[in-house]
Structures are given as structure tokens and as C-alpha cells.
Symmetry: C2
């Protein structure tokens, strides 16, 4: 379709002209990700108000053969929501709280609700919705679910997909699947919700969800710990996990370079421990029980760990303000890295038992590949998930450093693959890691994914070209309508995958 | 295929003749479920030793157009593993423990490992594999995963699918998907494992899995509680959940008739509470923490609940033996029900907030439908999952009672559907609930399930006729190779779905 005017008029007649945006000024915020490096293009941004409206738009686009890219808060980092032609469907107006059921410990929300608003609604009902990440003030729950977001609460509560009881989804042909059940046990046929969770808007558009709520912790304690090595961090983690059980709600890791640049650039940041250590961890324990105090629990855990030689030093936050300050040291890492020049970032996971080996091997290999390179590794140690970020050598030319992006991807991802890890732990695949996925994934797995895409979106209307490279069908005999799957003619040629990947280099994996 | 001899010779040449069973005596245990009421038929039972052997069998059967029905411990109750022709593929020889990684808190097992052996291997490594159900001494983990088994530990640890990190699966064409990753975070493409978990061997055959392990509780406390009503049970549950958080590891429910027949028929059973109550609950709390004692925690919880008027009476087990005796009262319910004559059983779930309404409404409707009927409702209250079982009126003819099976299914399942519940909470669909699923499921959901079946098993080789009724394709345009999907000619006519359903009446949903 070269002239979308008939489609746009059709959409405007149904949604109202005010909700079919075509002015470049209105489109601009939808064409780049948070840091503005990649650029997409679109005919229009449409803003339906409800599920029926979303279904109408998808049906109209399917009939016209025009791609639909869903956007929530547009806070992703892998280009998953970036349009490459077609229509951007903003879920922002579907922002209603449909129901809260504190007895069932569930909440029913529309896809466009801002994550912080979901948390607040849970809190008002006296419960906890645990999903928490840096962009929670602007990201929207539909995006969190369609990317299976991770964040800082995964250790105790799981990934976004683990927090979902039911979904409402608009399918590629505009039909609506109403799977909004709030059940803890349901084996009535195949589990459809997991198909859409984490599929980055390529198999269906999530319009609403029933989410799990949890008892709200009444007390938490946060400690900043100095350690002799990554191996020591692992030993400490094991002990805390065994002793604290589900009360251990965070175990985050920071290398010395990371702490150093936070202290250098973050306004008001204060050194949490007197001495210098080879590694640092932020430890949090929480309790829902009114008969105990998390601080007392943490004191006992740390005292026993120190007596066992598992940690070098530890500071236990004496107040909620100090606890927040410790967390801020961890959470400002992505931001302060910018002050140290360009970065090449990796969002990887390995089995926890191999995490020290990964850190050692990847650090050694990257430092050997470029003298002066500074490894800024940090992240969700307890989940086996590290943001293995590389800061450029001091004084090096920014562009020259970024030109090494593919080389470092190869070094780091080869090590990850050798350790049976994942090259896309919590940020998804989108556009940026699509070809990396094609390189590292089991060919049978890739073929299964393509079969699912073909079965659920035979016209390749939903977010085409994301996650899977449509040009590489390994087993065409298994694919429904291969001619339609390969329908990349719907994607306008400029601003395609290659361009997006190369200009997005420094922005991969910055979400924490 | 009317003469399978060439296929069987081909299989025997590869697997060894000793592992291609055709003697009726050898076949017999594979043709009925535990209680022997339904009967299937098969050409042969084949017993490959490893994944390669499973792949060989599936490939050979796919080429010959012969259905394959996988069996693990054959402990199901909905006819999911019952052959209706074709080949039974026993996973029993794939019973190796491949790896234990206590640091990563994971264990890699083959599909044929008996659940109790998986539990034991975890325990030897100082960890807990929490999946626990009545048949754990004979059911096999591959069956637990392919049916997404529930059981008594769901409240704290989730269903079987929630305990899985990775899978190895033989696909319908004999290819092997190696998804045996042990990662807590992995967003590298679509999540394929959830497709196979709970699909009852209709989309692929699980041959191995990486499972999550948990810190082993060091202390547990069990109480038997007398309550004024189901509403009171719910109020007590809410309070315990809020106060104990993840330490609350079980909350099971029993109606007075249930306790009465256990005390009547179970050897050695002793009345746990002096008085009679309108409802009973078994409550368990566990702790992984060496610095506290579950008994002390439970005493505090019960004292506060009693002071708040939430419970009428409670007995706290004074020893491990007494704790086991309390659990035995709950776990022997299915067994003792047999002594009261024929049963019509339902395995349903509703949102927890609607559970008292369900119990009241369904009890009233069933009692009104047949004077003298005795409702034996019990189960996993905290999960919203009740085994809503009906014992025949005293003295009534057994067959006359069972003839009312469909009538009671309609009464109970209509109420469940009206409360947004599930007619198949933890036992799956198989053959027995296939037509009930077709009746109650959202048509769009059914169509999606059929699209998945068609995409992953276009030849309809894997466990045909289970879960989905292949004769009802609602949206044939979405289905790949509809001619093959409808290929029910592979199923021999005798012993088909109708016969199986009618003679399986009293055996639905007896697993707890």
C-alpha cells in the first residue's frame, strides 16, 4: 500500500479524527525509543479507546494489508515497538482499572495502564503487585507483558509472565480472545496466554490482563555488601537463599568500576562502605509477617555470613531513606554510564552456577580485545542475569569504539552460548537482537517460532520483522502460507533493520 | 493402516524386539487407567531407551500415518493416555537423572523418572522439588509436565508448569527440540516450553526437563481446623495468607460428610477435633529458616485467628506422626469414597472470592436434583480448586446413579461457567472432558488451540482425538492442511470416545 489515505479515513471515521495522528510533530515521539537514536516511520499513530477499537483497527489493517505496531509507553530498548512503515497502534487510552479482587488476590487492568498506576491500585487494595523496573513511571503494563519484563523483583516473584492469570488479546484478524480468567488452576485445554506473553506484539495484541497480587510486605531491610570476588558473591547468595528462603527479595551485583562511576557522577551519592572490594552486592529481605522485623532477620543473616567468611564488609541501612539511597546506587548505574562515554551493552543470563565463570571469561576476553576498555557489569545476580556493559576507553573516539559493536557482541554472546545462557535475558529481541537470535537459537526452536507466527499471523500484519527474521524460513514445508509470511513488501525500505541496528548500538539493554 | 506388521518390524529392528510389546498380557496394563474402567486398544507398546529412540518411533509412525500415544506412569484420570488404536510409546525407560545443580537450584531429569525419585534426588542434593500428589510413587515426571499436574504444593510453589526451566521435546515429525536451558530469565524469542506443558502429548512428546529446585523447609506445622462455614474458611485463609505470606504452604478443605466417611472407612483414622463443625480445613506452614520454628509461627497465627473469631476449633499436630495423620485424613478421601458406592466427580476451579458461592450453589442444586445425594466436596481451597464429588444416595442402584452423570456435569459445570471458573482445574481434558471443553470454552480460544494443533502436528499423529475434538473446526480457513487434521481414519472404530466416556463416568477426577 503506497497510499494509506483510504485506510486512514476509514479509521478516522470510526475512532474520531482526533485519534488518527498524522502530523509529523505528533508522530515524532512514536518514532524513536527513549534515547532517540533509532528512527522508524509510520503512516499514522492511531489511538483507540477500548478493545473494540483495537479490534477495529487491526481488522481494517489486516484487510488493507498494512502492518500494525503496538506501542505502550514506548520505553523498550531493542526496537520492538519501532514502526518500519504501517500503523502505530497506541494502547495509551486503554488505561482503565477494570476490577480489583483482594480476596482472589487479582487485579484486572487494561494494557495502557502505567505500571506505577497498577502498583498503586494494588497498594490501595492492601496488596502488592511486585513487578518493578526503572521505567515504571512511564512504561505501560501491556508492554511489560508483551515483552515479559524482568526488573528487580524477579528473584522472589518471577518474570512478568509469571504474574499473569488471564489475558484479553486482539488477534491478527481482529477477533478478540477473551481469556480474562482469574484462576490459579486451569487445565482446560492449551495454555494460550503464554503464547502472547513475551511475543512482543508479533502474535496478538494484549488489551487487558488479570494479574496476581501478593500480600504486601510489612517490613524490609537493605544491606550493601563488599565481597572478595564473584565466587564469594555466589557463595553468599547460596547461603542467604537457603536461610532466608522466600524472604530474600533481591540480590543485585555491581563491579567496582560501576560503584566508582556512580559515586563520581550521581548527585548526592555516598560511598556505602569504607574500604574497597572486588565486588559488591545489594541484598534485600522483606517480610509480610507482622510478628517479625526484616532488620532483625537481616542482622542475623549477615552476622552468620560474616562469621563464615562469606563477606568482607556490610552496611545495613539504618532507615528507609538509607535503604533507598543504597537502591539508588544500583539503579542509577545505566544513567551514570553515559558520563563515561559510549557504551556497548549486553543483557545476558547464564545458569547461576556459571555466573562467576561468565564474568571472569567475558571480562578477560573484552579487556584483551581492546586495551583501556572498562567493563561495567551489574545486574540481577540472583536471576543469573547480568547487564554486561562496556564503557569506551578514556579518550577514545566515540564512533571508533561503537564500530566494535558487532565484534564485542560476538565475544560476549559466544561465551554466553558456550555456557548455555541467553543473549536476551529480560529486554527481548525486537529488531536489535533479531539476527543474533537467528544466529544463536536452536534451528528447531526457530522453526517452531516461525510456525507459530505463520499459524497466528498468516498475513504477517503484526509487528512484522521483529523477533524473527522473515527471510529465513528453514522448513518451509511446515509454514502456513509461506508466500504471506515472506510478505516484507509491506515494510517500507528506508529505516530498515540494518540501519536501526547500527544506529542503536549504544542503546541496547539500558533498561534495568 | 490395517496391517501394522511392517511398522512393528521396523521398530523392533531399531529398538530390539523385547521393546516392542504385542502380547495381550503385556498390552493390558497400558489399555486401562488406574481403576480399570475405560479400555483402549493398540497395535503395540514400544519402549525406547532414550530420546533418539523416541524420535525414531515418532518419525516412523509419522511416515506410516499411525498415531502415537505417550504414556508415563499411566496414572491419569481423564483418558489422556488411553490409546484408541496406533502405538503406545512408553517413556518408562527414559528414567535417568541427567544432572543436579544445587547452585543453580535445578535438576535435569528424563520424562520417565518417577516423581518420587525426582523428589528424592532433589532431597539428596539438599533441596526441595515441591511437586507432590497422591500418585507420586508411580506417576512419572513427563506425565506430570504434559498434564501440568497440580497437587498439594500449588499454593506456595505453583503448578507443574511453573516448576519448569527447560524442556527437551520430540516433535510430530520426529525432530528434537533441545530447550534444556536452566535459566531464570530468557526472552530470546517465543516461550516454547509452555506450548508443550499441559498439552497432554498432543503437540509434542516431552523427553526431558530442567526443573526448579527450592530451599528445603527445615520445619513445618500442620493444624486441623473446624469452621462455621465456607465463608469462614475463606476469611481464615485471607488472614493466614496476609500474615504468613509464603510460609503458608497448604490450605485444604473438607466438608463434614468427607471427614465422616474417612473416619468410617479409613483404618486407624482418628477424629481430629472433639466437636462437629460445618467445614474443616487442613492448614500447613513451613519455614526454610533455621532461626525459627514453624510450630511457634502456627501457634501465633491460630491464636490470633481464634481471638478474631475466624475459627471454631483447631488442633495443632504435636508430632510429625500426628501431622502425617492429619494429612492422611485429607489424602484418603478419594479412596474411602469408593466404600460409599458410585461417585460422579468434578475437578473444578473458580476465583477464590467466589468459592463459597460455588460450594453453596452447586451443593443446593445437586441435592435438589436427586434426593439423598451426598456431596463430598474437598480439595485445594487456597487454589480455588475443589473436587466436587457426588456420592450416590444410600441404597440406590449404582448404574441408575451413574446414568445421571451428564445431568450432574451440566448442573455443576454450568455453575462453574457462570462464576468464570474452569471445568478442568488440575486433571486435564483428555478424552473425558473433551466435549465439555468444546461446550464451555470460548470459541476463539478453541479455534486458536486447533490452529496450534494444526501448526505443530499437521498429520494429527500425536494423541489424536484428545483435548480437542478434531471433528469441529470452527474456522477452517485458519487451519493448516485441514484434510489431515480431520484424519480420524487412523483411529480404529471400537473403543472410541463415546464408549470411553460412558464407562469412565465414576472415575473422573479422582486424582488429588
Amino acid at each position: 500500500m503506497t497510499d494509506p489515505s483510504r485506510l486512514l479515513a476509514h479509521l478516522a471515521a470510526h475512532l474520531g479524527a482526533a485519534h488518527v495522528l498524522t502530523d509529523p510533530v505528533d508522530l515524532a515521539p512514536h518514532l524513536t525509543e527513549t534515547r532517540g537514536l533509532r528512527r522508524g516511520h509510520t503512516h499514522a499513530v492511531v489511538r483507540p479507546a477500548d478493545t473494540e477499537g483495537v479490534a477495529f483497527v487491526v481488522r481494517a489493517c489486516a484487510e488493507a494489508g498494512v502492518p500494525v505496531v503496538a506501542q505502550g509507553g514506548n520505553t523498550g530498548h531493542v526496537g520492538g515497538g519501532l514502526p518500519q512503515g504501517g500503523i502505530v497502534l497506541s494502547l495509551a487510552r486503554l488505561n482503565r482499572l477494570r476490577a480489583v479482587d483482594p480476596v482472589n488476590a487479582s487485579i484486572t487492568v487494561e494494557a495502557g495502564m502505567v505500571l506505577a498506576d497498577v502498583q498503586a491500585a494494588a497498594s490501595e487494595a492492601g496488596m502488592l503487585f511486585p513487578l518493578s523496573l526503572a521505567s515504571e513511571g512511564s512504561c505501560r503494563i501491556g508492554g511489560n507483558l508483551s515483552t515479559n519484563a524482568g526488573g528487580t523483583a524477579v528473584l522472589a516473584y518471577g518474570n512478568a509472565r509469571d504474574l499473569v492469570l488471564g489475558l484479553e488479546v486482539v488477534l491478527a484478524d481482529g477477533r478478540v480472545w477473551n481469556g480474562l480468567k482469574g484462576l490459579r488452576k486451569d487445565n482446560a485445554g492449551y495454555d494460550l496466554k503464554h503464547l502472547f506473553l513475551g511475543s512482543e506484539g508479533t502474535l496478538g495484541l494484549i488489551t487487558a490482563a488479570v494479574l496476581k497480587l501478593y500480600p504486601r510486605p510489612v517490613s524490609r531491610a537493605v544491606a550493601f555488601v563488599g565481597l572478595a570476588s564473584a565466587e564469594a558473591a555466589l557463595a553468599l547468595f547460596r547461603t542467604l537463599r537457603a536461610e532466608a528462603g522466600p524472604a530474600l527479595t533481591a540480590f543485585e551485583y555491581i563491579v567496582p568500576f560501576g560503584l566508582e562511576i556512580v559515586l563520581r557522577h550521581r548527585a548526592g551519592a555516598r560511598r556505602p562502605l569504607a574500604g574497597a572490594h572486588a565486588a559488591y552486592a545489594l541484598v534485600e529481605v522483606s517480610t509480610t509477617r507482622s510478628d517479625e522485623e526484616a532488620g532483625t532477620l537481616m542482622e542475623g543473616l549477615l552476622a552468620r555470613a560474616q562469621a563464615a567468611g562469606l563477606l568482607a564488609d556490610a552496611a545495613l541501612a539504618a532507615s528507609e531513606a538509607q535503604a533507598n539511597a543504597f537502591w539508588d546506587l544500583r539503579e542509577s548505574l545505566s544513567e551514570v554510564q553515559k558520563a563515561e562515554g559510549a557504551s556497548i551493552k549486553h543483557d545476558v543470563s547464564v545458569p547461576l552456577s556459571r555466573l562467576p565463570a561468565f564474568l571472569a571469561e567475558a571480562t578477560r576476553a573484552c579487556e584483551a580485545a581492546m586495551p583501556g576498555l572498562r567493563v561495567c557489569a551489574f545486574g540481577h545476580f540472583g536471576d543469573g542475569n547480568i547487564h554486561f556493559n562496556l564503557s569506551q576507553p578514556v579518550g577514545m573516539d566515540r564512533a571508533a569504539f561503537l564500530a566494535a559493536w558487532e565484534r564485542f557482541n560476538r565475544i560476549v554472546h559466544d561465551i554466553v552460548a558456550g555456557l548455555d545462557g541467553s543473549i536476551a535475558a529480560e529486554h527481548g529481541v525486537g529488531l536489535l537482537k533479531r539476527d543474533e537470535l537467528a544466529r544463536y537459537a536452536d534451528p528447531v526452536a526457530l522453526d517452531l517460532m516461525r510456525s507459530l507466527k505463520a499459524a497466528l499471523d498468516p498475513g504477517n500484519i503484526l509487528n512484522p520483522g521483529k523477533v524473527l527474521n522473515p527471510g529465513k524460513v528453514l522448513n518451509p514445508g511446515k509454514v502456513l502460507n509461506p508466500g504471506k509470511v515472506l510478505n516484507s513488501g509491506k515494510v517500507l525500505p528506508d529505516g530498515g533493520a540494518g540501519a536501526a541496528a547500527s544506529c542503536g548500538v549504544s542503546e541496547a539493554s539500558t533498561k534495568i
